[in-house]
């Protein structure tokens, strides 16, 4: 049945479709609706467990622990909460706990501008916790796609045995659109983690060998472990090379935008080519290289001061132009004038 629903609701419904059995969260705009729905759903469905934690640190730790205990679990937050969750995100990668972290971005840093939309937590996906880790992150741009990608995120989590990040923004979380979630067919990956209480394993955040013995002074074991982690993540990421590309034959300029920005600039399809990465991290290196080589100008339009632009530059070894939409201001006219300005005299 077609229904009018918000991005947050679609994310929650996606998680339920993927088989989630646990939600832990802490109220924060613009992700609180997911928490509210989890509370309501746990009343109806006693198999679904829910915790309103005392802070985001606890919420994230509870999400990962629940995953180790034996259910698919997820949490949702916004930028400041995601900062507190970084500790658990690093831990989740070492103890190999499949789960999903939803981050509905708002203007930062710190409390920032509650609740204006932004896309400024890209670097936080991979750079917030100590050490090297290789998370997978997706970013939808419509209500229906939020539903699909939530399921994809759960699948990728089960395959990569790690937390997967689903990005959204304040705009998308509160965007209402018609969608028929029941009619959407999705593939759901089975549970890959053996639950607790079956064995004598040790899940530790300390460096360890394959048997779970703590090894804190052996570089060989550590390198081997990190190589395996990276390879596993890249292999799973390769399964989901998600992007959208709208070529415009008459254009010499490629616009790169994702999430809500890509929705806003979609009227420019007639004049410019548009590339929308859906898998935000690991960066779609191969696809970017291939597509960008036929364009003279590349402009990255995003709700931050050039975070994806710098990743693009690294990936394609070429300078790109940037249009940062800061402070929650996403106006098509303004973006258009900025593009014209960048292209003037070129």
């Amino acid at each position: 049945m077609k229904r009018f629903l918000s991005g947050n609701e679609a994310i929650f419904q996606g998680a339920i479709r993927a088989g989630a059995g646990y939600y832990a969260g802490y109220p924060i705009s613009p992700a609180s609706e997911i928490l509210q729905q989890a509370a309501l759903y746990s009343e109806e469905e006693p198999q679904f467990r829910f915790l309103q934690a005392e802070d985001e640190i606890a919420a994230a730790i509870a999400t990962i622990s629940a995953s180790l205990a034996g259910v698919k679990s997820f949490t949702a937050t916004s930028g400041p909460g995601f900062t507190l969750m970084q500790e658990a995100l690093g831990w989740g990668h070492v103890v190999e706990a499949p789960c999903v972290f939803v981050n509905s971005m708002r203007v930062g840093p710190s409390t920032g501008m509650p609740t204006q939309p932004a896309q400024s937590d890209l670097l936080q996906i991979k750079g917030g916790s100590a050490g090297d880790y290789y998370p997978i992150a997706f970013y939808p741009n419509s209500v229906e796609e939020s539903f699909r990608l939530t399921v994809t995120a759960f699948n990728a989590a089960e395959e990569s045995l790690s937390p997967v990040i689903l990005l959204a923004d304040a705009f998308l979380s509160h965007l209402y659109e018609m969608a028929d979630l029941g009619a959407i067919e999705v593939e759901v990956a089975p549970r890959t983690k053996e639950p607790l209480g079956r064995d004598q394993r040790l899940f530790t955040g300390t460096a360890h060998d394959k048997l779970g013995n703590v090894k804190t002074s052996d570089p060989v074991i550590y390198r081997e472990w990190l190589r395996e982690l990276r390879e596993r993540h890249l292999r799973v990421a390769d399964k989901y090379p998600l992007y959208e590309y709208f070529p415009c034959k008459s254009s010499e300029t490629l616009l790169i935008a994702f999430g809500i920005t890509s929705r806003i600039i979609s009227p420019l399809k007639e004049r410019f080519s548009i590339f929308r990465p859906i898998r935000i991290y690991p960066v779609l290196e191969r696809e970017l290289k291939e597509i960008t080589q036929s364009y003279r100008h590349i402009i990255v339009i995003e709700g931050n001061d050039g975070q994806y632009a710098s990743w693009t530059e690294c990936a394609i070894c070429r300078k790109v132009m940037r249009v940062p939409c800061l402070g929650g201001g996403f106006k098509l006219q303004w973006i258009q004038s900025q593009i014209e300005e960048r292209l003037k005299g070129r």
Partner: protein
């Protein structure tokens, strides 16, 4: 012959362990294992969660599925595991710095939610693994490497905090008072709800030697001087007492709000007013204000708009207001709030 069958719960193949000779953690590990073995708990029905620090390594030496969490998060992880898997017995093995300082918030809230987990806190009154810094339970005046002139703050009274709100189970014991220690472990394991055992333990290498003790045994003797065992259930437990304090549920609170009593008034018993009698109650000379409405008389003396006044804008006290209220901007429900005092004679 001494029964050593509890050793099947320990990963003897990983020995020698990481702790210093004379450390109290060995005694905690052994006695907890013996307590579990007595109850017949094993890896099939029990999960161990541990925090960071020397005491956090206990999980790795036990033949159970063990989760070694980041600093301070053991309680949250244990709560999530217990929520998802109520069939498992969940134990937390951690230290005073981990539970009282960095995980203090989680201690407050996990105990408030009365999650059914058992916590064994190896309380050595110091940060041992990091080199002997003052901890949250370090007694006032103790010299440590971060309090060279003696600790200036009061220690955290875990016993007082955890017993502030029923239900609770808090036991204080030491590694020296062995029989008492064993009894506390057993009672805590069998307690339904959140139970906390504060085990006063020694750290000879990084705390004891600085305090002038030559051996661990001298520290044990010091515990014997400082503490004495009290029989039965004491509430509250004094700071120099070893014992158990527990309470199942809080006595039912008397609701503080006003109790509304609605008295059904039979219409037949009511006094009948003639219009002349009604006119008498117009609020003048501290008389009550009565008005008529649809054949009934209401006492509207408590109305803030009518008080002490004969009339309020268009409504006149001591009059039948049936027609007035029909044309008034408000509905008749306003008048039903007031007590009915009589009937109006036609």
């Amino acid at each position: 012959m001494i029964d050593r069958s509890y050793k099947e719960l320990l990963k003897i193949r990983r020995f020698p362990h990481t702790w210093c000779p004379g450390c109290g953690i060995g005694a905690v590990l052994k006695n907890v294992a013996m307590g579990l073995h007595e109850l017949g708990w094993g890896s099939h029905n029990t999960a161990i969660v541990s925090g960071i620090g020397c005491s956090g390594r206990m999980g790795g030496y036990m033949n159970f599925d063990a989760v070694h969490t980041p600093h301070g998060r053991a309680l949250t992880a244990a709560e999530a595991i217990k929520t998802v898997r109520p069939d498992l017995n969940v134990l937390v093995l951690s230290g005073d710095g981990d539970l009282g300082a960095i995980g203090g918030n989680h201690l407050l809230h996990t105990s408030r939610r009365n999650s059914d987990i058992t916590v064994f806190c190896n309380d050595n009154e110091i940060y041992g693994l990091t080199g002997g810094q003052a901890g949250p339970t370090t007694p006032k005046g103790t010299k440590t490497i971060t309090s060279p002139r003696g600790e200036i703050f009061q220690p955290l009274r875990l016993g007082r905090i955890l017993t502030a709100q029923a239900p609770y189970f808090y036991a204080r014991t030491t590694v020296y008072h062995l029989n008492h220690f064993k009894a506390c472990i057993r009672e805590a394991l069998l307690w339904k709800g959140f139970s906390f055992v504060d085990i006063i333990s020694d750290c000879i290498e990084l705390n004891g030697r600085r305090l002038g003790f030559k051996t661990a045994h001298q520290m044990f003797k010091w515990f014997d001087e400082r503490f004495h065992i009290v029989e039965g259930v004491r509430d509250p437990l004094k700071e120099d007492e070893l014992g158990i304090t527990k309470r199942e549920v809080e006595a039912e609170e008397v609701p503080m709000g006003k109790v509304e009593v609605k008295v059904e008034v039979k219409h037949e018993d009511l006094k009948t007013f003639t219009p002349e009698e009604l006119r008498h109650f117009d609020g003048a000379d501290a008389k009550p204000i009565f008005v008529g409405y649809k054949g009934k008389v209401y006492d509207i003396s408590t109305s803030p708009l009518f008080q002490g006044e004969k009339r309020m804008r268009c409504h006149i006290a001591g009059k039948d207001l049936t027609k007035d209220i029909e044309i008034a901007p408000h509905g008749e429900d306003l008048i039903f709030k007031f007590p009915l005092v009589g009937r109006l004679k036609e």
